[in-house]
Amino acid sequence: MRLASFAALLLLASSAPAAPPPWQRTETRAPCAGFDLLRNPYFGDLHIHTRFSADAYIFGTRVAPRDAYSFARGGTIPFSDDDEQQTRSAHIDRPLDFAAVTDHSEFFGEVRLCETPDSSVYTSQQCQILRQAEPPDQQFPATVQWLYPAGIPNPAHHLMCNDPGVDCTAAMVSVWQDIQSAAEEAYDRTASCSFTSFLGYEYTASPLGRHLHRNVIFRNEHVPPTVSSFIETAAGGTPQGFWSAIEATCLHAGTGCDAVVIPHNSNLSGGDQFRDPADAAEALRRQTIEPLVEIHQIKGNSECRFDRLARAGAGTADELCTFEQLDVAQEGPAGVPLPIDQYPLRNMVRNALKDGLALEDQLGVNPFRFGFVGSTDNHDGAAGSVAESGWAGGQGNNDSSPVRQIRDNLRTNPGGLAVAWAEENSRDALFSALARRETYATSGTRPVVRFFGGRLARVACGSPALVHDAYASGVPMGGELGAVRGQRSPLFAVWAAKDPGTDDAPGTDLQRVQIVKGWVDALGTTHERVFDVAGDAANGADVDPATCAPRGAGAHELCAVWQDPTFSSRERAFYYARVLENPTCRWSTRVCRAAGVDPFAPDCAAQATAAGAAFAGCCQGPGNDAFLDPLVQERAWTSPIWYRPDGIARVRAKVQYGARPGTDRLALQLALARIPKDMDPAHLDLTLSVRDDDDILAVTIPAGTLVPMGQKRFELATPLGPLARATLLLGKHGARLSVATAPMDLTAADRSEHMVTVSLASGTYRASSTRLWVVRQGRLVPGGA
């Protein structure tokens, strides 16, 4: 850690943590008292709308970002009722650790002008449509009239923006500034670290009703001065124009700005959310900008899809994929239920992940290397309002009463949460977890899930050092592995603990843990398989149909160290853990029963008739519906760990600290079991970096600088920058890169146990190996060695 970069903090820091985190502190704030090198799970919601979203405003939502952050921290906020009056209110069952308000950026300016009585367009018809309380059958046309520009090829702002004296851009900026003020006011910069607000917004491209929606989440307060929406960026491609805007205004702007983009609702994308990239460069761009995908939210689950009536799935035979599915595959005119054999495969993330492996075999880069988060997408400011019991709905007056919930929104659900494994609850720490994909998604509950892969020396369930040892000789969820055990399968450790719940609503026991594997064979065909690795699918637990109380027991905790019996060291694969709770009553079951209709009753249909036509849906279930179930099996999905035959199989390294300043040395050897497509020292630069919170070593060996010494061996002819020696062997058994520095200043490499990342880049090839490095005999070395 360099003291210069830390100077600003010394004012605030009473005691800095002993070990540095693997990220730079970019903010003026106190380090957190709860800092933990081996990381804590933080629960959040990265997808929330307030009245600045035109559709939320139409749904009667009047709360602002400030209210959404207040809700996330435990405050009570008002909700719209059926008549768009703010007569309802609610608070969260337990506060969140972090949240991001992500309003639709497309119409920030128009909404601001329409809600400001002094604006010259206030009384226009377009503005009245936004503000008025319409009957339910008028709600959809009103929404379309406002949102249609997001669904056409050449989108433009609403006509009001062309009136003289009307400045929609200035109004848009003023909304963005309001959002920034609200986030700042909610962000705890003290050592308590009780809450983190993120700045962000939603890009809402919906060509012909196909959702290509994404949220952008910024690392810190160094955000672009204005927002980029589908309207401003459509000319550059969808979503390429948006990526360009984020690159230009943030990632490449040199302002300290950093961001991740998170696509969501691929289940409504008509197969278009994960299109093939044009080339390897675009694949790499996507992998870099979009490290995560939101796979669960109120408008359905996007992991995988199985139709229980047809007894067939969309690229899967996994029967647990009936979970919280919408019936349609997109919105707009083509948004009609499709038979499962016509359902677009890439609407589902698991299929995109599998295809990503095949694309990596072809292009050398995997465009679909997504970690997972869940969130709500609530349109009422209710960040993290995910409880199935007493759910207030999530979309203003669309689902503000039992009738509207059951009649109009039976297939929506209370949404999920995003969980980040981070050292502390600060923006830098959480953002870095998002960027490295060390996240998991839940369907709303809060189980704690660890997942590691690698050599995993000494890692055993029940060992108090499990987590430490796993970080030393493996990678956590979201990471990548080369052939770490030669021809043998890497080991995978998964450890889950049930949601502790609250006094009023104790968490549900766990039923089982699964590992989902996807892979591509030598012919380019993709496969998947689901393994039960812990727990018991037949534990007999269910609910008491008379009360919805859980019956029978499951596990408080489940743990397994597993290896893949189908492993082939030549086949690209991903592995993610899915943790299943025992069944509980779905939200709709609770609403139906309160209305006098019991989904479990043999005479459910008669009860529904008595309760009114709106409640007919209460009797949909496994017997007569492809997806709906009066029971819900809440679950968590960890980000995958990817096995890459051409990934980094082994890192041997040591930092030797000299007796005098400037006499430290680093020696490092990297082994790859397969030579990557883009490794060609004669024609491509080779970049090697070793990094903790600082760059310990960052060196690019220009193409042609490594001189061939025989057929397989390349060497530096003369020292290059910090490198005294560098040798690259390209042979039958893969690639090996060995470097050694001249005596130099390596004080950036902290002399304490901490995470270090070694990265290699060549052409479009990228690989990295992050491990806990430890101090042995005065030297800093990878811990798993």
Partner: protein, 317 residues
């Protein structure tokens, strides 16, 4: 430090907002004295207000809503007159552009001279009659009313005073540092309670120091040591354990405390009492809150001052 706050991007909000709207406005109190001008809301005005309300809400306004509508209409008229009195209608580019365009529509001459067109529009009274111009001027005046001047800097003294007055909003909760020895309900089953008591007795003899004691229990997924607030302990272990820790003396083994997972023996190393953080640690949040309140206060004061200079008559009541 004040300089740093003023350089912080968020605090430019007001100034920047005004600049982006193309406004160079500031608040000056008008001159008192002379006869107070009258503002009359007559039956026709009231009818129009009710109609507009009904169109938007589907039903006529109730008494409370009607009172608010009238108050807003009066305020709007005051703001409009004050804007004209300050010459905003002559200095603002957007207003002039609008007048030129309107004159182009209604004028008989097809003059290209913008000054002539603007003069024509004013002769026709369009700067008073056109809704767009009117609302723009009202908006400018509102911004002027909430304008924060050089006397409204969020200085250290002011923020200190604000923090002191709103200490509860910024308070840092107490923290506790502890080590726990965990006995898993899954592992110990029916013997859980007895095993926990036996282990507590064993650890208490001596007593066993916390770092040695951890391996005597089961591995816990969140680790053995915590530096946490009571709320964080509640979210991790449940209310029962959090309450037990709150009552636990430091420097000895206490328990067993129950969670949703099993039983826990706890050693409290120390506590950090709750406190109001110094301003330096919460400056951004305090400044945001201070500016928001100051803006609301400025607008209230300015509106009250303006209202005091008019006589208002609602003739339809």
């Amino acid at each position: 430090v004040t300089d740093r706050v003023l350089r912080a991007p968020l605090l430019h909000f007001l100034v920047l907002g005004a600049v982006l709207l193309g406004l160079r406005v500031r608040w000056d109190a008008g001159r008192a004295g002379g006869e107070r001008p009258r503002i009359v809301i007559d039956a026709g005005d009231l009818g129009r207000l009710r109609e507009a309300w009904a169109e938007e809400h589907g039903s006529p306004p109730g008494p409370a809503a009607e009172e608010r509508l009238v108050r807003e209409a009066v305020d709007e008229e005051i703001l409009f007159r004050e804007a004209v009195a300050r010459g905003f209608d002559r200095s603002d580019a957007a207003v002039r552009e609008r007048l030129v365009r309107l004159a182009g529509f209604v004028g008989e001459e097809t003059s290209r001279d913008r000054d002539v067109l603007e003069r024509d529009a004013r002769r026709l009274g369009l700067e008073r009659g056109d809704l767009v111009v009117r609302r723009h001027l009202v908006g400018m005046m509102r911004l002027a009313a909430e304008w924060l001047g050089p006397d409204d800097r969020p200085s250290g003294d002011r923020l200190e005073a604000y923090l002191a007055a709103h200490a509860a909003d910024f308070a840092e909760p107490a923290r506790v540092r502890l080590t726990q020895v965990y006995l898993s309900g899954d592992v110990h089953g029916g013997a859980l309670e007895a095993d926990a008591r036996r282990l507590l007795d064993a650890l208490s003899r001596g007593p066993t120091p916390p770092e040695e004691a951890v391996s005597r229990g089961d591995a816990f997924i969140r680790g053995a040591t915590f530096d946490a607030t009571r709320a964080e302990l509640e979210r991790t272990f449940g209310a029962q354990l959090a309450a037990g820790v709150e009552a636990a003396p430091a420097g000895r083994w206490v328990g067993p405390l129950r969670s949703g997972y099993g039983l826990h023996l706890v050693w409290v190393h120390g506590r950090e009492p709750g406190r109001t953080p110094p301003l330096a640690e919460v400056r951004g949040r305090v400044a945001q809150a201070w500016l928001r309140e100051r803006r609301e206060q400025r607008e209230r004061e300015a509106m009250d001052e303006m209202r005091s200079r008019y006589l208002v008559a609602v003739e339809a009541h």
